[in-house]
Amino acid sequence: MALTETPMQAERAKTIYEKSKPGRRAAALPATEVPEKPIADLIPSNLLRAEPPRLPEIAEPEIVRHYNRLSRRNFDLDSGFYPLGSCTMKHNPRLNERVAALPGHARLHPAQDPRRAQGALELMWLLQESLGEICGLPHVSLQPSAGSHGELAGLLLTRAYHADRGEQRTKVLAPDTSHGTNPASVTMAGYEVVKVATDEVGGVEMNDLRAKLAENAGEVACLMLTNPNTLGVFDENIAEIAKLIHAAGGTLYYDGANLNAVMGHSRPGDMGFDIVHVNLHKSFSQPHGGGGPGAGPIAVSDRIEPFLPRPQVVRREGSNGHGPGFDLEFERPKSIGRLRGFQGNFGVFVRSYAYILSLGGDGLSEASETAVLNANYLKARLAENRAGERLPIAFDRHCMHEFVLSGKPMKRDLGLATLDLAKRLLDFGFHPPTVYFPLLVEEALMVEPTETETKESLDAFAEAIERILTEAEQNPDLAKNAPYTTPVRRLDEVKATRQPVVRQRLEL
């Protein structure tokens, strides 16, 4: 056994099923209390299960140890710098967890009569109002469960909008820099994607846009944009773009994943967008949870409002002495209908509303300022020395909250792929930036520091990059074989897809 590896570390790779032992258990259950009957008298035996599922049999202390140990095999935002582009890994205030856990929120049944859930409905209404003000669009539905769900909602709204006007459009435009969920949502909504090129400063290529609009005259249902886009660039032609799309009869959809750059500075509604989704798990501090939960509320313009999902939280003026009240509106004849059960990810709403209350209006715009400042500072640091040479910025101009570097020269000169750099960063205790996205930048590295990082973190990251590039000049294999200090080293992802093992085999 290596001195540096304890049996415990080795043991950690065991699954909870491998720690199971017949007869052990954690839970004690309440007594049945009521007169018992043979189950078969209550449910026909052909509908009954023969053997209980082979869940682990293990006592509580070992369950806690198992998951605590697993947790230490995760890198997390509370451990270090996490500049994952497009993901807005900002600090998650613990206050939000505290208020979300209040029994009045956590143990409130979603089917509780609205008259007995006024606090929850008021909170949702207040959040709707806040997001509306931030997006510059008057109507908000909180129902979508994440950004991609919001995208689908937006496209279904677009379809309903056109159908209501007796139109049947088939195409949705999206720039080649768009996030994967955009085209995926387009297909799911029954539309066809038409790519629009990017110009030399990172914005939409206007001529191409005009061309695509001409080619698909009368067919274009919508243009989906992220602004600032996935290159961290604010598209200065946005007003012109909006004019063109609206002239062509299409809707303009705003992918709000990058809203963190412009809160309190510029509003999608004012830019001419009809529909916006907001990732509450990005700009509004809902923790990512290792892949969710999130929420993707949508804000829309007046012309889209009639089609919003059902039910909608509404405020009704008070009657006979009572103050105003809040209700769920189901009677929405033109609504596209439900996108999910009940009213949405309320627990996420509580956290995000707490976040908005904590920062306040000016706090939000300061947050965006600092996010943009941090991004530009780190960009500047990475333009120095070796990084500047080997990892040039894809579009050299001031960025907003994030920026994209190209590893092309690094690969050419040092034989180091962006992936190698990313893996080596793990040894330095940093989460790597988003890699190989957006697609149009070769060997792309997408860096988003967020506003909650200190200058020290940014400097340390820049130095780590410098160090990796330096060591690579002598010994490129160091990075090519990285990481070395992680619980496991590079994993065979191809095998995992070729011969997928997606569950554990268990003996009876």
């Binding site: 258990r25 954690a26 259950l29 049945t32 209390e33 009521v34 449910i43 026909p44 509908l47 009954l48 299960r49 682990p56 947790s71 890198f75 451990s79 967890e97 505290r98 009045g104 956590a106 979603p110 006024q118 606090g119 929850a120 008021e122 994440a146 991609s148 769900h149 689908l152 996030h179 969920t181 085209p183 995926a184 909504a189 029954g190 007003a239 309190g264 500075h265 830019m271 990732n279 290792g290 892949g291 939960p293 209908g337 999910r340 059960g341 309320f346 627990g347 209350l357 904590s358 000016d362 400042l373 530009n376 500072y377 500047a380 200058k455 990481p483 496991v488 590079r490 994993l491 569950r503």
Partner: protein
């Protein structure tokens, strides 16, 4: 810091950085939102809002309809609140995400065990939208565009499916209920060679346990996929969908380790046959090895997903519900193989008792007599809404009124049982319902003598 940083960037102020936004598009004013507050003030403000909700601590909760007031063990919070699970992003860098990835793998194994199907993903948003995703999968798998759906499927699921279907262009045909169960004949008649999927729920929305195997025959016959929505808490005792011929088993995961949270966040589980593995929506963790031969886990089959396949992806989902799935896994490990079955039995026994008890109440009768597991439906001989208001005054949320979604059951009430609902509470419910119905019918018994038991309960 600021000065240094601006200098390094080479600008005089942060505003300069925002000049790339055309002047007319700059807001030029403060957002019309309240000023920032201290942590203590935010807490007080939200606590005041929370205090205006009648939660399950304030009202004994017999409401279910897909989400249930189960007891979530303390270790679920302790584990899910650990920064290492709470704050990371989706595990794109497996070397530093083994914790989360292994949890997904363990979770997939558990859901596969529960449903009796070999493949599980790591979770979707929640129940109803999972049904819609199953429809999308079925269309891709069968190249057909018609769904036959039982009216016993959760109304939210049917409505969500319809919403999605308008998008990806499919027809939804609904089959009615007979005596609380899906009308088998009507179902058989509705399924044909154009049918992509037959979609059932068991126990269905009225609580009745369906004979999935028998109903599913029609699907097999015409080569349609059989999709079964189920309540995970019943899978310790009910025959798993996989053993009933289901191609896809899915459902709302909230009963497993997730709070009510006024409806979310929770998660949807989604299991299928091997044949569908490359059409699955959502993340799937897979086992593999590292360069040193050590066991490890990664996101497998990413070639299905939007970030690789873009418009050809099997689904558009990205951020899902990883933390909620962790809560479920911890809850399942805590219950364990035997505890999980015992809990299922406890629910069946107490539900049978409650059903009998309520049926015996004057003015209350069973809406159907088909077998049930943990939820059942009754009819009230008085306006449901008014009765619920009266019972609410006694600190009881008596159930879910069926009227809005089942006009044919205007007088219907759906009553759910969990291990938290004691015999005493059930007896109190029966008494309260009886008193309320009677009162609505015009007789007014004194409230005092009946209030006592609850007071005791609360103590």
């Amino acid at each position: 810091d600021r000065a240094e940083m601006l200098a390094a960037i080479g600008v005089g102020s942060v505003d300069e950085l925002f000049e790339q936004i055309p002047a007319p598009l700059r807001l030029g004013r403060s957002l019309e939102l309240p000023d920032g507050m201290s942590e203590a003030e935010v807490f007080e403000r939200l606590a005041a809002l929370a205090a205006r909700n009648a939660d399950a601590e304030e009202q004994v909760c017999f409401v279910g309809a897909g989400m249930y007031d189960h007891y979530v063990p303390a270790i679920v919070d302790a584990i899910t609140q650990r920064s290492e699970f709470l704050t990371p992003y989706t595990p794109y860098q497996p070397e530093i995400s083994q914790g989360g990835l292994q949890v997904m793998f363990e979770f997939q194994t558990a859901m596969s065990e529960l449903t009796g199907l070999p493949v599980s993903n790591a979770g979707l948003y929640e129940g109803p939208s999972s049904v819609a995703s199953a429809g999308y999968l079925a269309m891709g798998a069968t190249k057909r565009a018609k769904f036959v759906v039982s009216r016993g499927v959760h109304p939210h699921s049917r409505e969500t499916l319809a919403t999605y279907a308008v998008g990806y262009g499919a027809d939804v045909v609904e089959v009615g209920l007979e005596g609380g169960l899906t009308d088998a004949a009507a179902l058989a008649a509705a399924v044909d060679g154009e049918t992509a999927a037959v979609i059932l729920q068991s126990p269905n929305f009225l609580g009745a346990v369906e004979d999935v195997e028998a109903l599913g025959a029609a699907a097999k016959e015409h080569g349609a996929l059989l999709v079964v929505a189920c309540d995970p808490m019943t899978l310790g005792i009910l025959k798993p969908p996989g053993e009933c011929g289901a191609d896809i088993a899915l459902g709302e995961g909230q009963p497993l380790g997730n709070r009510l949270d006024f409806g979310g966040p929770s998660f949807g589980f989604f299991c299928a046959t091997e044949a569908q593995i490359r059409r699955m929506p959502g993340r799937i963790a897979g086992e593999t090895t590292d360069v040193d031969g050590r066991r490890g886990f990664v996101l497998a089959l990413q070639t299905r997903e939007q970030h690789i396949r873009r418009e050809k992806a099997t689904n558009n989902i990205c951020t899902a519900q990883a933390l909620n799935a962790l809560g479920a896994m911890v809850h399942l490990a805590w219950l364990g193989r035997n505890g999980f079955r015992e809990l299922g039995e406890l629910l069946v026994q107490r539900t049978a008792y409650a059903r009998e008890r309520l049926a015996a109440v004057d003015g209350v009768e069973l809406l159907h007599t088909s077998p049930v597991a943990r939820e059942f439906a009754v009819r009230l001989d008085a306006p449901v809404g008014k009765v619920l208001d009266r019972v609410a005054e006694r600190g009881i949320a008596a159930g879910y009124p069926l009227g809005r979604e089942y006009p044919e059951f205007e007088d219907g009430l759906l009553v759910a049982i969990t291990e938290r609902r004691t015999k005493a509470q059930i007896d109190e419910l029966a008494e309260a319902l009886g008193a309320a119905v009677a009162a609505e019918r015009g007789a007014f018994p004194s409230q005092e003598d009946v209030k006592a038991p609850l007071a005791e309960e609360a103590r």
